[in-house]
Amino acid sequence: MAHESALDRTDAWPPPAPAPLAVAAGPRVLPSDIAAALAAYTLLLFGVWAIHGGASDLTANWHQGWTSITRISGLLASGAGLLGLVLVARPRPIERRYGLDRLFIWHRYLSEAMALALGVHVAAGVVAWSDGGYTSAVADLTGRAPYMAGATVGALLIGVITVLSLRSMRRRISYEAWYFVHLTAYLAFAISFSHEIVVGTDLATDTLARWAWIGLHVAVAVALLWGRWGTLARAATRPLRVASVVPQSHDTVSLTLNGPDLADLPADAGQWFLLRPLRRGLWWQGHPFSLSAAPSTFGLRFTVKDRGDATASMARLPVGTRVIVEGPYGVTTPSALGHDKIVFIAGGVGVAHVRSLLERLDQRSEPVVLYRARDRGDLVHLEELQALCRGRGGRVLVLLGRTSVLAGRDPFAADALRQAVPDLRQRTAIACGPESLVQAARRGLIDAGVPSDRIHFEQPWW
């Protein structure tokens, strides 16, 4: 039987004394590197436009002016879109500095910028060609002119994705449906590419610029294939297995994964992984989970709360199930915290993050954990947290009660925080949990005078 053989392997596996896993190492970008690269990139886009007379065309005449706006907005739209794709490739040097969740947030900002520039591009294009009438311009630009049909459909696709990504629309459709629809942006990029290098004045008329543009697209495509799908393929060749599933509360379990390939996997306390159990309905999507114990050769422990949908099935995985593990991600690691005194503000499964970090903190941290939960039954890992805090001269403060009951007295207001943690301003703060909790905590901490560069929060993005 499959499970038995899996157990045989895992039984033979744990070495007598668990040793910590290696910590992921490698270059990390500096903020100044990013600023320089962004400045050079923007300068190049404007430069291509300017050396083909973009700036002087602006004021030349009505037609050339609008054409010039069309050109620069088109270049900027593509430029922002390509940068957004670079972030999706999860470049390791940037991830190690800022964390994958920030990369996805920037991806969203860049996509918004792209949609905005594309709107200007389309509008200005229609105006620029309208000297034969708007009807004729629209007819030309939607397919009567060569290569423009692809550009039109591409712009429509980006429009659909943009509308569906608006917060009010996004809430009405399931994450997965939205995710797949938003992948059609690749199609939009592909079918609108030819009009850029054939119709676009800056690229069509300049061999060097055209080849540089093509090269840029090829480079981004390679980065995407390598960074996104290459790493997934490599992770798929060394899956871990579910070694144990331990209930922690009525709706939460802890899941330990290990396997022969575990030793090759770098990981540190405070990091998170994308888990993809090889089970029907689960294999096609990675779900983010934080380590809830310091990673060791004994295994990776995660804490999974049943929030319906996929997490429900995650909490019921049979022992022995193979799980593809992508990661590690995240930058709130013990080395990033140094020897600071720490205050944690946690809620929900965010407590996993706290639990793993506590294990690797030393006496100097004197950790204080503010643990927010609806009721006693929702608390997980409480004894572990208390034991770890006691051993480090710290304590756990539990805040119970439904949000509606607490209304009117914000548990994370500056006064409340200062009262609970008198030396708050001397501490580094880490907030983890649902978005509303993290935002409330962040506001309170800033009001209480904690400098924002000492407030850490990460949110694997759903």
């Binding site: 311009a137 060569p146 049909a149 459909v153 696709l157 399931s174 059609t184 079918i191 004045t201």
Partner: protein
């Protein structure tokens, strides 16, 4: 055995995206009316849709654009499309051709020669010089110049729409023609 709720299937979650992709490709094939090589590069003259006959001759000579690529843009008579493409144009213009000035554009000079009717209206236009500084320009111009001629003749002057992707050539063409009409 616990009866775990079955997670939503991949197929159902991916359906909206697949529908969108299919719609896009369908729309793409419907919209693209420029795919067939025709002397006017698929760029219809405004009003063409109302008179399909002007388009018919174009599509019956699909080799026009391809052979045009091999020609020198400075060899004007051969760049002129069949007169049948503009039914309104008389088959013969009797007056002497008048050359306009060569208008410099970033991609080279554009110069047209026009024959006017006795009343001063346009009878026919030929391109004396088209910009040809590189392969790209030639490709644009072998497509754009015939279209510009058609549009100018239909407009009876310079009040015509520029050709998409050949803005500067269109402007040069207009300026050279305007000089002839003003003279």
């Amino acid at each position: 055995m616990t009866s775990s709720p079955r997670p939503a299937s991949l197929a159902r979650k991916a359906l909206p995206a697949l529908v969108l992709t299919g719609t896009s490709i369908g729309l793409l094939t419907q919209l693209d009316r420029a795919g067939h090589a025709s002397p006017n590069g698929g760029l219809a003259v405004p009003g063409t849709t109302a008179t399909p006959s002007t388009r018919a001759p174009s599509t019956t000579s699909p080799s026009g654009a391809a052979s045009g690529l091999g020609r020198s843009a400075a060899n004007p008579p051969t760049t002129t499309p069949p007169a049948s493409a503009v039914p309104a144009t008389p088959t013969s213009c009797t007056n002497n051709p008048v050359s306009g000035p060569a208008i410099m554009t970033r991609f080279g000079p554009v110069q047209v020669t026009a024959q006017l009717n006795d009343d001063g209206t346009l009878c026919d236009i030929t391109t004396a010089t088209g910009p040809s500084d590189d392969r790209r320009s030639m490709m644009i111009n072998t497509r754009a110049l015939p279209v510009l001629r058609l549009r100018a003749l239909q407009a009876g002057g310079t009040g015509f729409q520029a050709v998409t992707g050949a803005t500067l050539t269109s402007q040069g063409y207009r300026a050279s023609l305007q000089a002839i009409l003003d003279a």
